[in-house]
């Protein structure tokens, strides 16, 4: 077993453990912290694949900005533990087998379909190449995303504003 596969297995175990913990924790803040573990593990996996820029963006935007937003909203709304209802007990008996079957099936078919896939020569992907592609070929979608962010910002402001303030 090479070192890379060992690192992959450690990071994959971290990611899956975090995702399982997200499901099992009853308090939303614990779920949020589990999700941060998943995101950090995924950033490590991106580094392992030579995608340095994506790994950095993953840590900064996902692990930083988005999760801070989640934690902030959880604290703002003072979210407590989930309450158990009849529906959630039913979901346990129906959902667990369904989820396990779905996971196994997806993993089986993917492993089967891609095991014969030709292994391309691993080439270092430089951030320079990525940015050249982003700012030449994909410059229009890139500019559109800035509009999207602006609209989302305005939408969030309008939605979360108190009614009596106007």
């Amino acid at each position: 077993m090479t070192l890379q596969i060992a690192v992959f297995l450690i990071l994959a175990a971290m990611a899956v453990a975090g995702a399982v913990s997200l499901i099992l924790q009853r308090h939303p803040i614990h779920s949020a912290l589990s999700l941060i573990v998943v995101m950090v593990a995924l950033a490590g996996l991106y580094l392992l694949q030579g995608a340095e820029f994506i790994a950095a963006v993953q840590i900064i935007v996902y692990g930083g900005a988005i999760m801070v937003l989640f934690v902030f909203v959880i604290m703002l709304l003072n979210a407590g533990e989930e309450e158990r209802t009849n529906m959630s007990r039913m979901a346990r008996f129906v959902g667990v087998p369904l989820g396990v079957v779905f996971l196994l099936e997806a993993a089986y078919w993917i492993a089967r379909a891609t095991s014969r896939m030709a292994q391309a020569s691993p080439q270092a992907v430089s951030t320079r190449d990525l940015s050249t592609l982003l700012f030449r070929e994909y410059v229009f979608p890139f500019e559109l995303t800035s509009f999207l962010i602006l609209i989302a910002l305005l939408g969030a402001l309008v939605l979360a504003r108190r009614e009596d303030s106007d």
Binding site: T2, F8, A12, A15, V16, A19, L22, P28, S31, L35, V38, M39, L42, G50, A51, F53, I54, V57, Q58, V61, Y62, A65, I66, L69, F70, V73, L76, L77, E82, T85, S88, A91, G95, V96, G99, F102, L103, A106, A107, I110, S115, M117, Q119, A120, S121, P122, V125, D129, L130, L133, L134, Y138, T145, L148, I149, I151, A152, G155, L159, A160
Partner: protein, 100 residues
């Protein structure tokens, strides 16, 4: 060299766990977090294919997915704040005024 299929299997497992969390959780914030988990799983598949095919487009797509996820999180959490203010609960089963 880690085979591409390993990454894809991990991506499928994470996506499946995201689906399970989406169905299971009753708290609207946690349901939102499981959507983010699914988006992350898809990003992993994008990067794995990008490396396997030797093309950079996959990583550009991951960049766009992250940007859209950030916008979606901002709007979605604002909606959650409005729901919590109007209904006084975060439990999705108690947001059922259309039923009654």
């Amino acid at each position: 060299m880690v085979p591409t299929s390993y990454y894809l299997v991990l991506s499928a497992v994470l996506f499946g766990l995201g689906v399970v969390a989406f169905i299971f959780k009753r708290n609207i914030i946690t349901i939102f977090m499981s959507i983010e988990l699914m988006l992350n799983a898809v990003n992993l598949a994008f990067v794995a294919f990008s490396r396997a095919l030797g093309q950079l487009q996959g990583q550009v797509f991951v960049f766009f997915v992250i940007v859209v996820a950030a916008a979606e999180a901002a709007v979605g959490l604002a909606i959650i704040i409005v729901i919590a203010r109007n209904r006084g609960t975060l439990n999705v089963e108690r947001v059922d005024s259309l039923k009654h």
